[in-house]
């Protein structure tokens, strides 16, 4: 019951949003919707709901991702109220799609049937498209077209991959159900060739949605042109949803004994993504595209980590947790800068700390968090990956990972430090006066979620409450159902 | 016994020699019917050939022995090919493994000498016709070869005499779609090689629009008779490929088989007449696309037959 509510409640709020007149009312409904969703998620932690037939079930990984998405959506809703000031015609649709996106994400996270997962993920893509185009204009249109075309083709390939996985079980009688548990129970009988083909196709398909290289081409354009709250949602939550699809297939492969094969490909794509990000992050003049490439990099890190055993999986989920929080912070601050300065070019946005001290401090904190400074959590997840690679004996992986991560680190910080500490640009604030803030309260509302997320990130990095540790542990163990549980060496 | 076989062989041979002109007559009368006219007499093509044979030839001073040899060699090549293709029954006069390739190249030889005779006149129109004929002939060859390949794969033999017959009717039952594709490709090749609409208009008066007609502008007398008869014979030979593909009959008694076959040929001539009357000629730039389409169709048929064999 709770599972259906998790998907239906945001959907209901979306419909209410569509029907209501009045901007203020709709925005209030938006916040209420995300708040209600967070409440339901908290309830699901307190009292875990049972599975609903073959279609819906809550496993540790989905539960973790759903909680992260819920927090991010609430923060984004609050930020949006401060950010949005231009009255655009399609604002009603925007808010409705916002909540519909939350509903589809929840459906992805609670689905246990591969078909339901696919339908929900494709619906999420479709719900996200009007959100990208919200700003209108030629560039946003171009980004929207690239997004929808690449995502549709990618997800069609993922469907083919799911079909191939199903075909690998087609010789087994009686017919197996297309769930991880169902397929896994007959793991040894699954046909090898079809399963491999299915894995590769879903890797390409879901990887396109995640933004793994070389299918990442749509990401810089989309994150650069979409409104910053939308970009935050996509970087923080949609990537998790697509990653979940990939992990489900990985679980099936683990049952069938194809772990090394799957893990190997994960490592390849992960390293490729980090390397691509490293190349394009250097000297990038546009700070939003830069953030898109850091998203590609973090997705690469998470994918790489899964291929490195149980410790790697733990680091992967830790990285995912902090990635969501960090991306929220970074994109909210990007939105704040856009409102303050009216430009997406780094050269126009310099010396933030002089003019907007709080924003400057938060930006510094977010950059440190994203680059892996201790005591923020990404330091520990990346350290975990290094240890996992050493434990598995993957020395080349370790070397390449270290080198590429260094390059990304240098690139991001050399680009963004002038933004924080540089000489304030001589341009008057904001070439486009329409974008200037109307009302000082907006500044506070935009920065409030950033402060909350920063505190959360710092807190969860410096100290891990046992509940969080247990959740991450469960997720890591659930990822390798095929093998006997190995003792996970955690960093705490 | 041997007299009976010889009599049958001679009879079949004569039938094969007469059939081309009959088919031409059928096509012309069909086209006339569509135009609302009665058309020429049934034996008109015979009258034409006989009339031309009795006339004298005029040779231009710019021509050499090639011009005189062209019609003779092309007719000889076509007649030789006619001995190796089963037309009205399932047997032919000569046959050996691989004679399908010899037949296709004899047809090409005939075309080559017609083209050479055209180039020999030194006229620009005929040169243009020769160039077009060369291009379209080159593009039609892959389609023809792949259609032959389908028949070879179906019957497992490289001899035209055995490529037809019962083996093909089994093929229609199993890979019927491949046979449909092959027949379509062969029809397009037939229309191309015998210079019919939609590839070439045999009744046009404008040299710029001609392909085959323009190559034979300067021939006269017996040479023109040879060429006219040769074109009709080529139509019959390629048509026999098509007819045998669409209607494969096992080895029935001859007095049943031969009339049936003649009727099928006449049906083919009627169909070609209808096509000529209802379609317009394609633009010259579209003809390569049409031939590429024919090649693709026959290629697809080959793939289907192969996959069915492999499965």
């Amino acid at each position: 019951m709770l599972l259906i509510l998790l998907a239906a409640v945001p959907g209901a709020f979306a419909l209410i949003c569509l029907a209501l007149p009045g901007e203020r009312l709709r925005q209030a409904v938006l916040v209420l919707g995300t708040l209600a969703n967070l409440a339901l998620v908290v309830v699901s932690w307190v009292k875990p709901p049972p599975a609903l037939g073959v279609y819906l079930a809550l496993d540790p990984i989905g539960h973790l991702f759903m909680s992260l998405a819920a927090v991010l959506f609430l923060a984004t809703a609050v930020f949006f109220i401060g950010y949005h000031q231009r009255r655009l015609v399609s604002e009603r649709i925007f808010l409705a799609c916002f909540l519909a996106l939350l509903a589809t994400f929840n459906l992805v996270f609670v689905s246990s049937h591969l078909g339901v997962l696919w339908v929900a993920l494709e619906s999420a893509s479709l719900a996200a498209t009007p959100l990208i185009y919200f700003r209108l204009g030629a560039r946003a249109l171009e980004a929207t077209w690239k997004f929808i075309l690449m995502n549709s083709v990618g997800i069609a390939l993922a469907l083919l991959g799911i079909f191939c996985v199903a075909l690998s079980a087609s010789r087994i009688e009686p017919q197996v159900v297309l769930t991880v548990a169902g397929l896994g129970a007959r793991g040894a009988e699954l046909d090898d060739t079809w399963l491999r083909a299915g894995f590769l196709l879903t890797l390409v398909g879901f990887g396109t949605k995640m933004g793994l290289a070389p299918m990442h081409g749509w990401k810089p354009d989309t994150y650069g042109e979409a409104p910053p709250p939308v970009a935050a949602l996509m970087a923080g939550a949609m990537t998790l949803a697509a990653f979940l699809g990939l992990l489900r297939i990985f679980q099936i492969c683990s049952y069938a004994g194809l772990e090394e094969f799957a893990g190997g490909w994960f490592i390849v794509f992960g390293l490729l993504s980090i390397a691509t990000a490293a190349i394009f992050v250097i000297n990038n003049p546009d700070y939003r595209r830069l953030l898109a490439y850091t998203s590609v990099e973090h997705m690469g890190v998470m994918t790489l980590a899964v291929g490195l055993g149980t410790l790697g999986a733990y680091s992967c989920f830790l990285h995912g947790l902090h990635n969501t929080l960090n991306k929220g912070m970074l994109f909210f601050l990007a939105g704040y800068l856009w409102r303050m300065y009216g430009s997406k070019q780094i050269k126009d946005v310099r010396g933030v700390i002089h003019k907007h001290p709080l924003a400057g401090v938060l930006l510094m904190a977010a950059l440190c968090a994203s680059s892996g400074f201790p005591p923020f959590g990404m330091f520990f997840s990346e350290l975990g990956i290094l240890f996992a690679a050493a434990r598995e004996g993957a020395w080349w992986t370790l070397a390449l990972f270290s080198v590429t991560m260094c390059i990304v680190f240098i690139g991001v910080l050399t680009a963004m430090l002038p933004v924080v500490f540089g000489e304030p640009s001589s341009m008057p604030e904001g070439p486009d006066t329409k974008l200037l803030i109307r009302g000082e309260w907006r500044k506070k509302v935009m920065l409030a979620p950033v402060v909350c997320l920063a505190i959360l990130a710092l807190g969860l990095g410096a100290y891990q409450p046992p509940a969080v540790k247990r959740a991450l542990d469960d997720a890591a163990k659930a990822l390798f159902p095929g093998r006997a549980p190995a003792p996970t060496e955690t960093r705490r | 016994m041997i007299w009976k076989t010889a009599a049958v062989a001679v009879g079949e041979g004569l039938l094969v020699l007469i059939l081309p002109l009959v088919l031409m007559s059928v096509i012309n009368r069909m086209k006339a019917r569509f135009a609302g006219r009665t058309g020429p007499p049934w034996l008109q093509p015979f009258y034409d050939v006989i009339k031309l044979l009795r006339k004298g030839s005029v040779y231009s001073r710019t021509t050499t022995w090639v011009f005189r040899a062209g019609p003779v060699i092309s007719l000889a090549a076509l007649a030789t090919a006619a001995t190796m293709v089963p037309v009205v029954s399932n047997r032919c006069l000569l046959g050996f493994q691989g004679d399908v390739i010899v037949v296709v190249y004899l047809l090409a030889l005939a075309r080559m000498f017609t083209m050479l005779a055209a180039l020999d006149t030194g006229s620009s129109f005929e040169g243009m016709g020769a160039a077009r004929e060369a291009t379209f002939g080159m593009m039609a060859e892959p389609a023809l070869f792949m259609s032959m390949l389908v028949l070879i794969l179906s019957t497992g033999s490289l001899q035209l005499g055995t490529m037809v017959g019962a083996g093909l009717s089994a093929e229609w039952a199993t890979v019927g779609s491949a046979m449909v594709l092959t027949s379509a490709a062969l029809l397009i090749v037939l229309l191309t090689e015998s210079c019919r609409i939609p590839v070439d208009d045999p009744n046009t008066h404008l040299e710029l629009t001609m392909i085959h007609e323009v190559m034979v502008l300067d021939h006269s007398g017996p040479d023109l008779a040879f060429i006219t008869y040769g074109a009709a014979l080529k139509f019959t030979l390629l048509g026999s490929f098509l007819v045998h593909s669409i209607f494969p009959h096992p080895d029935w008694a001859l007095h049943l088989l031969i009339p049936l076959r003649v009727c099928e040929f006449i049906a083919l001539a009627l169909v070609v007449g209808v096509i000529e009357s209802t379609m317009a000629r394609l633009r010259l730039v579209k003809i390569p696309q049409l031939l590429a389409g024919a090649t693709v169709l026959s290629g697809l048929a080959v793939v289907l037959v192969l996959s069915r064999r492999g499965a």
Binding site: V116, E142, L178 | P288, L304
Partner: protein, 222 residues
């Protein structure tokens, strides 16, 4: 002809329609060919059940009807509407010529047959040609997507790609629940609907539909 050869014939018809779409030079022709192909595909689940000697179940009939309504009726109408209201030059403009496209398509089809021959056998295939035809349609869809300049033809390429995947899904008719199949169909429909809106806006904003001219967003080194 037997039922088996009818089903084979239908699959070959699907292949021919693929090739025809590669060679079609008018946009409306492409759309009509796609509608015809979807119609043939919608008939196949019922034929499959007939081949196994059973009456077509409600699942197969329902999917067939839904597919016909959506993919033969609504989606082609939608695409045709964009073409009619948006385009002055209603011609496909490819990067590579039509003949080259057709020959490439033929090569891809041959490649699919060869590749499918190496894949292991699946149980209950109702035709040995199904997997090769599915792969061919997929590749031809990708070829159309990649080699055409107009946004509308890219949408058609995506639809042909989905047709190919649907063909593979036919192998799993018994395993995929009705709900999921309907969900897939609906997603495709909504996807095309949104694409149609975006294409319409592109035409309004840019006065053309050539997506290869949408290149303002790219990396510029500062």
């Amino acid at each position: 002809m037997t039922l088996q050869s009818t089903v084979d014939g239908l699959l070959v018809l699907v292949l021919l329609l693929d090739l025809a779409m590669l060679g079609a030079s008018r946009l409306m022709t492409c759309v009509r060919l796609f509608a015809l192909q979807s119609f043939v595909l919608a008939l196949l689940p019922a034929c499959a059940e007939l081949l196994h000697g059973e009456r077509p179940g409600t699942h197969a009939i329902f999917i067939g009807v839904a597919a016909i309504v959506l993919k033969v009726g609504v989606i082609p109408w939608l695409v045709a509407r964009i073409i009619r209201t948006g385009e002055v030059h209603r011609e496909v403009e490819p990067f590579i010529g039509f003949t080259t496209s057709m020959v490439l398509g033929a090569l891809l089809i041959v490649g699919s047959f060869v590749f499918a021959g190496r894949l292991p056998e699946t149980s209950h295939p109702f035709s040995s040609n199904l997997v090769p035809v599915a792969l061919s349609t997929l590749f031809v869809g990708l070829l159309i997507l990649v080699s055409r300049m107009k946004a509308v033809t890219q949408v058609i390429g995506y639809l042909v790609l989905e047709n190919g995947i649907y063909l593979v899904g036919l192998l799993l008719v018994r395993q995929t629940p009705l709900l999921v199949e309907l969900g897939i169909l609906l997603d495709v429909f909504v996807g095309v609907f949104i694409m149609a809106i975006v294409v319409y806006r592109i035409r309004e904003e840019f006065d053309h539909m050539d997506t290869h001219l949408l290149d303002e967003l790219k990396e510029t080194q500062g």
